[in-house]
Symmetry: C2
Subunit: 132 residues, 2 copies
């Protein structure tokens, strides 16, 4: 089988879809996905019990509210070029005034976690990531 020798450009990939909070899988390595998403508005509180989640802000701003074991909330503000890892088992809620992110997580990881709080708003896609 011929090797794939075509890189994917993230700017072009982001321009190929409009939906927010609806990640596309741009690459797979081992049993992990590299996903990209547009971000705008409030996501939902959710938790991944079994995996950390890596974020890189490609453009704009992306905030991650975190809730510790004692129920205290803190918000991490990420700007372009910032990276952050949400540890497994940590409740978190993303929000954004507009931007785009790259995520690294195990294939099959659901955007809304093992469980989430409240109703899912229309602009939040509960998915394990879409093909490009």
């Amino acid at each position: 089988m011929a090797m794939n020798t075509e890189p994917i450009n993230l700017t072009k990939a982001l321009a190929s879809f409009d939906e927010v909070y609806s990640p596309r899988i741009v690459a797979r390595m081992n049993d992990y996905d590299v996903r990209i998403a547009h971000t705008e508005g409030e996501h939902v509180w959710h938790v991944h019990q079994d995996t950390d989640e890596f974020f890189l802000v490609l453009d704009g701003r992306f905030d991650i509210a975190l809730r510790d074991a004692g129920g205290r909330e803190t918000t991490v503000t990420l700007n372009q070029g910032d990276v952050y890892v949400v540890p497994k088992g940590t409740e978190h809620k993303p929000s954004s005034p507009g931007g785009s992110i790259l995520m690294f997580e195990p294939s099959g990881t659901l955007t809304t976690g093992d469980h989430h709080e409240g109703e899912l708003p229309d602009h939040v896609d509960s998915t394990t990531g879409h093909e490009m």
Copy 2:
């Protein structure tokens, strides 16, 4: 233990060291590292038998020569914002006229693979990644 709520900025992290082909670990997630490196000059032919390797070009240009099972060589040219995965078991040799990259790979993965060809030049660091 208090949660880490400080993101790391990749531009600042890259500005904090000068060495080429000497990756710094900017984040860990599960048993994977997120590493960044400056790139310039020729790396060495090497192979990772047990893991894929993910590359994102942050700045400049980064080329990856690949050798297939039949010994045929192809070069993938990556510019800023391009992503590419070298499949496990594929012999490859990076080179660059200058730039910087982000990599995902299992913690412990050696920059020069399970084996490499020829002498290691002085500007290539054989390492599993340095702390920031």
